[in-house]
Point group: C2
Chain length 291, copies 2
């Protein structure tokens, strides 16, 4: 559907961002709100879409993210790897043909390990198709569930998800060492010490070390958040990055800088890309690929 | 204080077990209750001890465990490694000399890593001094915080603590995959698959795989607890056990069998010891070493 304006909706679990994309692919307007999937009751998605059109223009709409899960508007089945723009476009789930569509997620499976993504596939395609990253690249999308995606020939060849951010949040909110994780995480000495300590693979032991250092007075009381973040991100990066690997990171700057520092400490190279630009480029390519 | 009966109290965070030990070291009576440290208000410990003596006999009393922490009755400073029975006896914290004493915990520190234990040191000494384990042995005490202790010449030479049990509980209670962790953990195929999957060191990725397997239907819904337990225990064991290592396990049978299975899967050998026998033997040796 080349040459027509449309609304692109990045509709996640807790947040939503809408872009009006012009016929030339430029963003004409954008709005962000907290009307994520969990904020919307079953049966409420059509009214939400009408409200979006009332604000942003009565245009065709493409949605990506958890809106396509069984908790969202309608379930858009996962497309298997390798998955490119044409595969996503061909498997679009139409709420109303030509008018409102949901982009499918991507799944990966080999003997013994399964993985899924929903929403990230749009950024990944956009990063490569807009030239932010080469067609064969390792991309990383840090967050609650950090994605590592290997692109080949512009398609998602395989990927792995790590519970890095969720484990950090669990430790902070509920664990024995949570009371020592109150400071903001910064990519300084304590973070890098965590990254280095991740090298022995004894993550469960290193985490208890935070408690022990506190009760024996070996380290300060409230500064453990950066160290724990370094341990977790270090463990995550260590599983994926070899010496000399270049990683293209799609993240907000604060998280991007942490991953960057950990990747550099492991002998890799990191480049931080603009994830909003990548999303718009990706969804525009999918839009134009719809037959 | 050889040749005199005494009360031995294993006084932990949530539970308490009291033994009346006769002059010959035999257990004459034992009681278990839930009057752990967290159940007792500050200032309430003396009344608790009086109540114990009223039930079990008006005898001298030795206490071990979190009762000696800053949240307990009185803080008994940690003894550094290497720590043997004589070191623990010499650093006893007397509430009332000769009448009520608290056994100190043990700390370990080298460049970059600290560790502490409180209560476990009594079992460790007892296991070795009673002949359940040789004087030079690797002992493992699974639990919320799993202890691995290297004994040399009958003393605790060094040790490492892993947050294995706590992370399992956090995942079950609060994480995305908690809803799939409802079944009892058993040392069967799913547990052993988890142990095997721990070998690549990508724990954070393997945990997300549980979610992905569920949403793609690659594995059943509610049977993930054994797999996750295998992943965590496998990670823990993998950090400490080399091929052919013999591990002496001090644990209740259900947890002991899980660690046993993981150790065997890594090429080690496991023997499960009676932790109550070890505790009584250890505290009796400490009692007899008091000048």
């Amino acid at each position: 559907m080349r040459g027509q304006s449309f609304l692109a909706v990045d509709w996640g679990t807790t947040n939503r961002r809408v872009y009006r994309v012009g016929p030339d692919g430029a963003v004409e307007d954008t709005q962000r709100d907290d009307r994520g999937v969990l904020a919307i009751a079953a049966g409420g998605f059509e009214a939400e879409a009408n409200a979006l059109r009332a604000r942003m223009g009565d245009l065709p709409m493409l949605c990506a993210g958890m809106v396509g899960s069984n908790r969202g508007w309608a379930e858009a089945p996962y497309v298997p790897c390798p998955a490119g723009v044409e595969d996503l476009a061909a498997s679009l789930h139409w709420i109303e043909p030509g008018r409102t569509g949901i982009i499918p997620g991507v799944k990966w499976h080999d003997e013994g390990r399964s993985d899924v993504m929903r929403g990230e596939e749009v950024q990944l395609q956009g990063a490569v198709l807009s030239g932010l990253a080469p067609a064969g690249a390792l991309l990383c999308q840090p967050g609650t569930h950090c994605k590592w995606a290997w692109m080949e020939g512009g398609r998602i060849s395989r990927f792995a998800t790590a519970m890095t951010g969720e484990i950090f949040a669990l430790l902070k909110a509920h664990s024995l060492i949570g009371a020592q994780m109150t400071n903001a995480v910064t990519p300084g000495d304590e973070f890098l010490r965590g990254v280095a300590d991740a090298a022995d693979g004894a993550l469960l032991t290193r985490l208890f070390g935070v408690r022990a250092a506190f009760v024996t007075g070996a380290s300060g009381g409230q500064d453990a958040a950066s160290y724990v973040s370094g341990l977790l991100i270090g463990s995550d990066v260590r599983s994926q990055v070899k010496d000399g690997t270049t990683v293209h990171i799609l993240a907000d700057p604060s998280l991007g800088v942490l991953y960057s520092a950990a990747i550099a400490a492991m002998g890799g190279k990191a480049m931080i890309l603009d994830s909003h630009v990548a999303f718009v480029a990706g969804i525009t390519h999918i839009w134009r690929s719809i037959a």
